[in-house]
Chain length 408, copies 2
């Protein structure tokens, strides 16, 4: 446990989605993937207030539609069932039937009403879900020896190279509440798009409307600020369950500790988002683009995302090339109004561009900086006080290899 | 010469920017590049009506600003002087001085007023232009043995793997006028962005306002519909000179043959745009994305550009993978309203997606189709009658290699 100075937050270094009280999780192999775990669940002992954000892709996958129905029923969830290996996307009516059946099977096994169960899928798109494998897998899913957060974290992966988790405690009214998270994203052996799934649990009691608001805000500044290849999946979803087991008076925007809860939730989202970006397909480096001095937060976000999305910036980072020209060029086509002569650009600590001209800096030192694994690029507009950060990764031979290889 | 059936247009297979009467061109090596030609000109015997479109990048390079001044003076140009090897971008006041000086030197050498000369540059950005080399190069530029369109075409290249040219004749009032073009784009050994430059000449007489309108329209449906990596350069420019040497009554929107002139101009722009896309960095294939049945042309264009810009689509094409899921996914996040169940997607002649589901097609045949050099992807929205085509290329190991290699 590691306290963040000057805040009411401590990071639980080994924490996960089961750190908040009243949550359990697990995973099994049911046969959708060849060998690795491919079916997982998160469960709350009591119905939890639920919040969610979904992909804006027009082709939303069936499980997202079913989850939206579940949450719409009464704003609560007791459990989430997730499979990897098949996204159940572009699967038409049969896909909807399968997602409903997946929900029904798990609800029945746990004695829950169906609308207390959310469904998520990730993997190959356009193929029918092998629902029989899920039917067979569910009984063993609740076997106690399969009941660990780590097994859940593994069960939701596709070609991710590692699991992604985070947890913090936040002091609310002098008492600790806990927030935990797990995520997957940005890898695929199968042909389709890199889906991002994130699941967050908390034992805090939170007013449902404010919970949704907090999740949306946190998502906008974290998950929505990462990019691996600019392709927005059909299956992206962030799901948050707050079960109130911590026994706090329900949090809301009016609560004096609301800002602390929001900060804690933001940290979880940011940590998971960065883990996803770092594990981007073929990535060797995590890149943060910090925009400062912008006139609006929207402008700062758009600018940060334009720079982090530039293939030319991403390949330059891969090649450890302090190529400020590509950064300036991306700023110039971002559609955000920036005064060219006010702009300052930094690669790590090195000022590389100011007053419309290259700054005097050591190419050698900047190259050394770029040879590290964690890269920070700072764009200071020197116009206002709005800030934003976007995270991404470098563009490498392996990205091309992974995505150009024919489906097996 | 090859007539296009049912039109008044013939393609001049071996034509170029000097095919229209009254135009000459040439190129020399002045030392900005190590060995290859790097300084070129196009000249009209008499002042020509000029039209131009420029990059929307905020960081417009100095030569673009000087060219805008020249054209603003009286709407006419007699000559264009172009260098490669240095973009004269992000070079501040010194860059402006150098661009003015480059214009002055060429104007003086030809006895032209300065505002009849346009200036263009492409190459590395953020480095001062070696104006002395240009000063030394200009006298030999007008040496008759350096005066060929081919030498001009070569002098404007950076890491392009070949020259790009096109020419047509159009029958106006029963008499032929000629349009020629040259372009460069989409390659760089030096670190910066892939600049696109295109120069078009015609001996037609055209009303200046309508000439600008025609160029803008043609650019929107051709040059603005290509992408190599989504990065919009600081130096992009398309310049058109119409000198009236063909002796036709001046063309305008009211002229009965206006549509034919516009069609001819469009063919030149489309041909050059496709040559640029095919020569994209590391590209092995030219990809056309045709959108049909959209509600608006703007929507069709946005959709086509979203699909052609997707790194996942581009790597799939490289890998000859008939990965319709990535195409559908890109359609879904394009922000254009499409009815998922109406959408049809074709890879070449193969229908791969309809009614929200994968169509039944032979993966083997689709893979064979994708192994060719010219790939057509068709997205039919089945909603309206608007159409658009975008051109691009595959994303390959060589793209990463070219752009990740450290500057030398």
């Amino acid at each position: 446990m590691q306290a963040i100075e000057g805040s009411k937050i401590s990071i639980l270094t080994d924490g996960d989605i089961t750190s908040p009280s009243g949550f359990s999780a697990g995973g099994v192999h049911c046969g959708l993937k060849r060998k690795r775990l491919d079916l997982g669940y998160i469960k709350s002992d009591i119905p939890a207030a639920a919040a969610a954000v979904y992909t804006t892709n027009l082709f939303q996958a069936a499980p997202l539609l079913v989850t939206q129905e579940s949450i719409a029923a009464d704003g609560k969830l007791s459990a989430i069932i997730v499979n990897s290996g098949n996204a159940n996307a572009c699967t038409g009516e049969q896909g909807m039937k399968d997602a409903y059946e997946m929900r029904r099977l798990f609800a029945e096994s746990e004695g829950l009403s169906e609308t207390l169960v959310a469904v998520a899928s990730t993997g190959v798109i356009g193929e029918e879900l092998a629902i029989d494998k899920i039917r067979t897998g569910i009984p063993s899913l609740m076997n106690p020896e399969h009941g660990t957060a780590e097994r859940f974290e593994k069960a939701i992966l596709t070609t991710d190279t590692g699991t992604k988790k985070a947890a913090v405690t936040v002091e609310i009214n002098g008492k600790a509440i806990t927030i935990g998270g797990a995520a997957k994203g940005s890898g695929m052996i199968h042909p389709n798009m890199a889906t991002m799934l994130a699941f967050i649990t908390t034992d805090a009691a939170v007013e449902p409307e404010d919970l949704q608001l907090a999740l949306k805000d946190a998502t906008n500044s974290t998950f929505n600020m990462i990019t691996v290849d600019g392709d927005t999946s059909t299956n992206d979803m962030v799901l948050l369950m707050a079960n109130g087991s911590a026994g706090n008076t329900a949090l809301s925007r009016e609560h004096k500790d609301w800002a602390h809860f929001v900060q804690g939730l933001g940290l979880i989202c940011e940590s998971l988002a960065k883990q996803i970006a770092r594990d981007g397909e073929g990535a060797t480096k995590l890149v943060s683009v910090n925009v400062k001095g912008a006139e609006t937060v929207e402008g700062a976000r758009a600018l940060a995302k334009t720079v982090i999305s530039s293939n030319l910036v991403k390949t330059a980072v891969y090649g450890s090339d302090p190529n400020w020209g590509r950064i300036v060029c991306a700023v110039g086509y971002s559609s955000v109004k920036v005064e060219p002569n006010s702009l300052k650009v930094y690669i790590g600590p090195h000022l590389v561009f100011e007053k419309g001209l290259p700054a005097s800096f050591s190419e050698e030192e900047a190259k050394d900086y770029l040879s590290q694994e964690l890269i920070e690029i700072t764009v200071d507009c020197c116009q206002g006080s709005a800030e934003a950060t976007a995270w991404g990764c470098d563009l490498t031979y392996d990205y091309v290899r992974i995505n150009a290889s024919y489906r097996t």
